[in-house]
Symmetry: C2
Subunit: 125 residues, 2 copies
DNA sequence: ATTATTGTCCTAAGCACTTAGGACAATAAT
DNA sequence: ATTATTGTCCTAAGTGCTTAGGACAATAAT
């Protein structure tokens, strides 16, 4: 898979959030096996420990279940997944909207710009 | 002023971006004097060096002009400000939209959720 | 002329993140 | 029974961020 990691933030939260999005999007179905730490680390080209840091966070949130030696699986808790999806979305929406309005964009301007994400934004004001 | 700084990222980029949003929003008008490094640092409760790091970045982008001993002023380049405003907005829109769609939200769902940022998002799916 | 202000540079220390690699217990595979 | 796999823990080193505070040149203020 394709990993989007930049150096603007620590790596492990970026991985954690990316995996969370993949899980709530159903890319890793409920109850299905999760790749091993070593495989994921190799794929993302990061250290074992870095990936484990991200995975242990996912476990703390209850999104993945760890079985000591048989690997990990995605949670079967459908409600948790839906709640998590909604929570992430809400947080993103609030901060996005806040920052856009801080720059002086109105709600309708934001929506208009989002609909045509290719048109020139710089004519604003 | 109110500073929104969290520990998810280094402090200086957060300050830089916040000041950029304030400038392009006209909160610091074109040509007007900019607070001193020490004052800004005290206000944001960060170290001098941290604030200077942010300000030197703003200068690299041309948004503020530094006059060795008489302080700084906001640029008079109206075009630069408009271009910067558009650039920031576009980047935010693209990444926001990308991450929301990664989670399985459609364009219309996103807009609907944004319009009523208080309603429950968790009923989605 | 003297003093204060401003931006800037500097060292030093503490801290979190990242990488590299070694090691171990518990289980799966053979 | 033996071997491989898996999650996990550990040390060690390097790097960047942050803070603290000292110092200096150029200019403004008096």
């Amino acid at each position: 898979m394709e990993w989007k990691i930049d150096d603007s933030r620590p790596i492990w939260p970026q991985i954690k959030e990316q995996l969370m999005r993949d899980i709530v999007a159903g890319k890793y179905p409920m109850g299905s096996p999760f790749p091993t730490v070593r495989d994921l680390a190799e794929d993302a080209k990061v250290n074992r420990n870095t990936m484990q840091r991200a995975l242990s966070e996912l476990e703390n949130e209850g999104l993945v279940i760890t079985n000591r030696t048989s690997g990990r699986t995605v949670t079967m808790d459908e409600n948790l997944i839906k709640l998590t999806r909604g929570k992430i979305a809400k947080e993103k929406i609030v901060s996005f909207r806040q920052e856009m309005e801080d720059m002086g964009f109105t709600m309708e301007e934001i929506i208009s710009l989002m609909r045509g994400s290719d048109s020139d934004v710089e004519k604003g004001e």
